[in-house]
């Protein structure tokens, strides 16, 4: 629904610019909350220090936008020597482990709404958003396998466990999405 509402407000503004009539949204920001069905109308000021349109611009031609937008959060561990590869496991390998009947722990760190769509049999739900609360329920002696949707969030959870002294950890490469693609074709994909 929301894209329709926002897209049509944009279409209305585009027509008004062409027409040169009415009051345009220049200098105003509409914040629309569809759940509350509430509109806020904020006044926007030009920033005199803006790097593009300010008094002393530093951006005077188009830049490398990929580099500009791919700056990680400071201390997010992009440059440390943690070897993620070492902790990764392919879907086929994980399927073998689960089928072997070995006593292992499988942890799903996605959120409840994603769990409700699909999950891997034998998994326990421990959403990343509240992962710290779940850590005490895990045993460092167990073999622990983690997964999420694509493998990013579960790697974060894995690193939290590694910080807590856990060692027998593996992260499912490609997450449940690749699992559905390669191992369980009946699983819905989202």
């Amino acid at each position: 629904m929301l894209p329709g509402t926002v897209g049509l407000m944009q279409a209305t503004e585009a027509l008004k610019l062409i027409l040169g009539k009415g009051r345009s949204l220049i200098g105003r920001l509409i914040l629309f909350d569809a759940l509350k069905m509430n509109f806020k109308n904020l006044k926007l000021e030009k920033d005199p220090n803006c790097e593009l349109c300010g008094i002393k611009p530093t951006i005077t031609e188009l830049i490398d936008y990929e580099a500009f937008c791919n700056v990680p959060m400071p201390g997010a561990g992009q440059n440390d020597d943690f070897d993620e590869e070492e902790y990764s496991i392919e879907p086929a390998e994980l399927a073998e482990v689960l089928n072997s009947g070995r006593d292992v722990v499988l942890v799903d760190v996605r959120e409840q709404s994603e769990w409700d769509i699909c999950y891997i049999e034998k998994a326990q739900l421990m959403p990343l958003s509240e992962f710290e609360e779940h850590i005490p329920s895990l045993n460092p002696d167990d073999e622990i396998y983690l997964y999420c949707y694509k493998g990013m969030r579960s790697m974060k959870a894995l690193r939290q466990l590694e910080d807590e002294g856990f060692t027998k950890l593996r992260n499912l490469t490609g997450g449940i999405d690749r699992w559905a693609e390669e191992i369980d074709s009946d699983m819905p994909r989202y």
Binding site: V6, R28, K46
Partner: protein, 187 residues
């Protein structure tokens, strides 16, 4: 430029509004609007601006239609799955109003192709879904002095404004001088 009899009949509801009238409808017909994206925002934008009688609509998108798009990207249908979105939306617009010229660009916008593209249009409308494109579009609109109609959505919230810093008011960078850290951007 004049309206054909078919167009006069088609746009009756506009023509009888004093704020639009024949003068305004001719402005629509003479105008060129560029849409960035043929997805959730691009669908209603393309369909309504096309129906309203914009002379030329340019649409940029390099994605193909996926089943999971259909819940909100209403310009596309089941039969379009796997087709380029720009081709699908062009057909939908022309089916409603064959008077519109629809120019499609099945390419990724880059700093090498964007300025020449913007020069050909009067108004830019951003319906993109990522920060790289938003900054690129904002900067290119500023350098080509084109008004930029901005819209974005996240979960249940939408933001809409118009940037025209060459004329008055702020640009996107005045609001957000830097993108959020890459590892915090929701996919």
């Amino acid at each position: 430029m004049a309206l054909t009899n078919e167009e006069i009949n088609r746009y009756t509801r506009h023509l009888t509004l004093p704020e639009i009238g024949m003068e305004g409808q001719l402005k629509f017909k003479e105008s060129k609007i560029l849409l960035i994206g043929a997805g959730g925002l691009g669908s209603p934008l393309g369909m309504y601006l096309g129906a309203a009688g914009i002379g030329k609509l340019g649409i940029v998108d390099f994605d193909v239609v996926d089943n999971s798009n259909l819940q909100r990207q209403i310009a596309h249908s089941v039969a379009d799955i796997g087709r380029p979105k720009v081709e699908s939306i062009k057909e939908t617009i022309l089916a409603g109003n064959p008077n519109v010229e629809v120019e499609i660009y099945n390419v990724r916008l880059t700093r090498d192709n964007i300025l020449a593209l913007f020069e050909q249009y009067d108004v830019i409308v951003d319906g993109s879904d990522n920060f790289e494109t938003r900054y690129l579009v904002n900067d290119a609109a500023y350098f080509t002095k084109k008004p930029l109609v901005y819209g974005s959505i996240f979960r249940f919230e939408g933001q809409i404004t118009v940037f025209h810093p060459n004329h008055e008011g702020p640009c996107y960078r005045c609001l957000y001088s830097n993108p959020p850290p890459a590892n915090l951007v929701p996919s």
